[in-house]
Amino acid sequence: METIKGIQAGIIEDFEMFDDWMQKYEYLIDLGKELTPIEEKYKIEDNLIKGCQSRVWLHAEKQDEIIIYTADSDAIMTKGIIAILISVLSNQKAAEIVSADLSFIDAIGLKEQLSATRANGLVSMIKKMKLYALALNNK
């Protein structure tokens, strides 16, 4: 199991290869397309995070000590962003997730690349993922 820190470093490296916004966006779009779809039964109101413009379904479950996230969105770039978050936080221990310092977001300039509404969505998504981990850990 790679550490959260390690995975972030990898993402930062990936993004350093990109010259312009278009390559970054294309990468996000690709990630979005490749995201393992959430099981239909989890695409329910309870798992819905309503953003300003797009909707996100997020599901988390605990397997042994590990939290596994699956998610979906109706917008592909939103999906790409979730895919990155999942790659960093899924398959990690709850405690690690809750205390994770997600500095890669600033490092890859994701917030500046995104519109303010999307950046807000990003922040609330991270909050939600950490909350889920916390809740599952206490179960």
Binding site: Y25, E26, I29, Q53, R55, I76, S115
Partner: protein, 404 residues
């Protein structure tokens, strides 16, 4: 006469680059850009004339008051209202509608009905929901036809002797539909109902004549007509405004205050409590002057030309569907592209310097009607060009490529 370059030159922001590209501003339905004359009017007010209006004996106060009232007079002329005191300054369309919804509430009882339509902006829905909830009256909704126009047959059925007020927009901010408000007003009056028109999307595009139109209330926002933010107009017929209780309490709106009994000032002051947005209201005159100098008929004609061009170009995009295809339409185009989310399209074309709006445009019932999460909306103004439309269409096609 209608010199596009000269018009564009007046808008400093149009020279701006965004994300390294020349700005193409197609979000005029949300707010328009401002000509230098409006910007200067604000600065000039603060540099030369700033003082609180009304009641002051000193020179600056008199000057500010005169200019303030001059805007009121200009607005009256602009919409051909009968009296200056029928023009109430508010902070925007939303404020204007809420003022009436609040006042009208006191005239309503259980069983009374208010009619709105399925294409209204939330600002012309929520105040009436609140009004109905508090007064026990019922909200009825004129449904949409597939082409985005109102189902007038259904409207006729909804109208009854219980109808007290009909509140519809002049132009839909999402679909562009120009509603047959003259007909709506006549029919509503024939059953004794009052009519409020939400003119937020009309005032800078359609020539208005209150006396001819015979609307009881008409609301609009300066910021959507080349004017400053934080300024709105509520036009109301004198005799009806006089029957409504005041909205906010405060300075200016009173005649006499004592703890035993407070009496209210006459129109328009009765509805203008507190220090108004003096700078904005004074500068609003320059915005109206900008429109009247170009003549609104010329603006409408040019915008219609842009609308036709943009529509035909957008229709060339593969898998595109335009929402709002009624014959009588203003220069607002909402559309979606098959399999793509509007949000993704908006995010990508923004990087190419193009400001369009995506989402529900504060009209969630329309989204529900068409069962879509949102639309991409291009809304045009007098300073836009066909070249900009070409740039925008190319950007959208590029986004489509990236996303497919």
């Amino acid at each position: 006469m209608f010199d596009l370059n000269k018009i564009r030159e007046q808008f400093p922001i149009l020279k701006k680059q965004v994300n390294g590209k020349d700005l193409v501003y197609f979000d005029n339905g949300a707010t328009t850009q401002k000509p230098q004359s409006v910007i200067d009017a604000v600065s000039n007010y603060y540099q030369e004339e700033n003082a609180n209006v009304h009641r002051g004996v000193h020179f600056l106060s008199g000057l500010a008051t005169d200019k303030f009232e001059e805007t009121r007079n200009t607005v009256r002329q602009f919409i051909s209202a009968k009296h200056n005191h029928e023009i109430i300054f508010t902070k925007g369309t939303t404020d204007s509608i809420n003022l009436i919804a609040n006042g009208f509430r006191s005239l309503l009882k259980k069983g009374d009905e208010i009619i709105i339509s399925e294409l209204e902006h939330h600002s012309n829905i929520v105040p009436w929901q609140m009004c109905c909830e508090l007064s026990g009256s019922t909200l009825k909704v004129i449904p949409l036809l597939d082409n985005g126009s109102l189902d007038m047959a259904d409207f006729n059925n909804l109208l009854s002797k219980n109808t007290r007020l009909v509140a519809v927009s002049h132009v839909s901010n999402t679909l562009g539909t120009i509603n047959p408000i003259k007909e709506i007003i006549e029919k509503s009056h024939s059953v004794g109902a009052k009519v409020l028109i939400d003119g937020a999307q009309a005032a800078s595009h359609i020539c208005l004549n209150m006396q001819e139109l015979d609307a009881d209330f008409y609301c609009f926002s300066a910021h959507k007509m080349y004017g400053p933010t934080g300024v709105g107009v509520l036009y109301g017929k004198e005799e009806i405004l006089n029957t409504l209780p005041p909205y906010q309490g405060g300075g200016e709106m009173i005649k006499e205050v004592s703890f035993e009994k407070t009496t209210y000032a006459s129109l328009p002051y009765k509805f203008e409590a507190g220090t108004p947005n003096i700078a904005g209201i004074i500068a609003f005159k320059s915005a109206i002057d900008f429109i009247t100098e170009l003549r609104i008929e010329n603006i409408a004609k040019y915008e219609d030309e842009l609308l036709q061009y943009a529509t035909s170009e957008i229709l060339k995009i593969e898998g595109v569907k335009i929402y709002g295809t009624s014959k009588n339409k203003s220069a607002i185009i909402s559309f979606n592209i098959e399999d793509l989310h509007p949000y993704d399209i908006g995010t990508i074309v923004d990087k190419m310097g193009i400001a369009i709006r995506t989402g529900h445009h504060c009209t969630q019932p329309i989204m529900k009607r068409y069962n879509i999460p949102g639309t991409v909306r291009v809304s045009l103004a007098v300073y836009n060009t066909k070249t900009e439309i070409d740039i925008c269409i190319n950007a959208i096609k590029k986004a489509q490529e990236m996303l497919s």
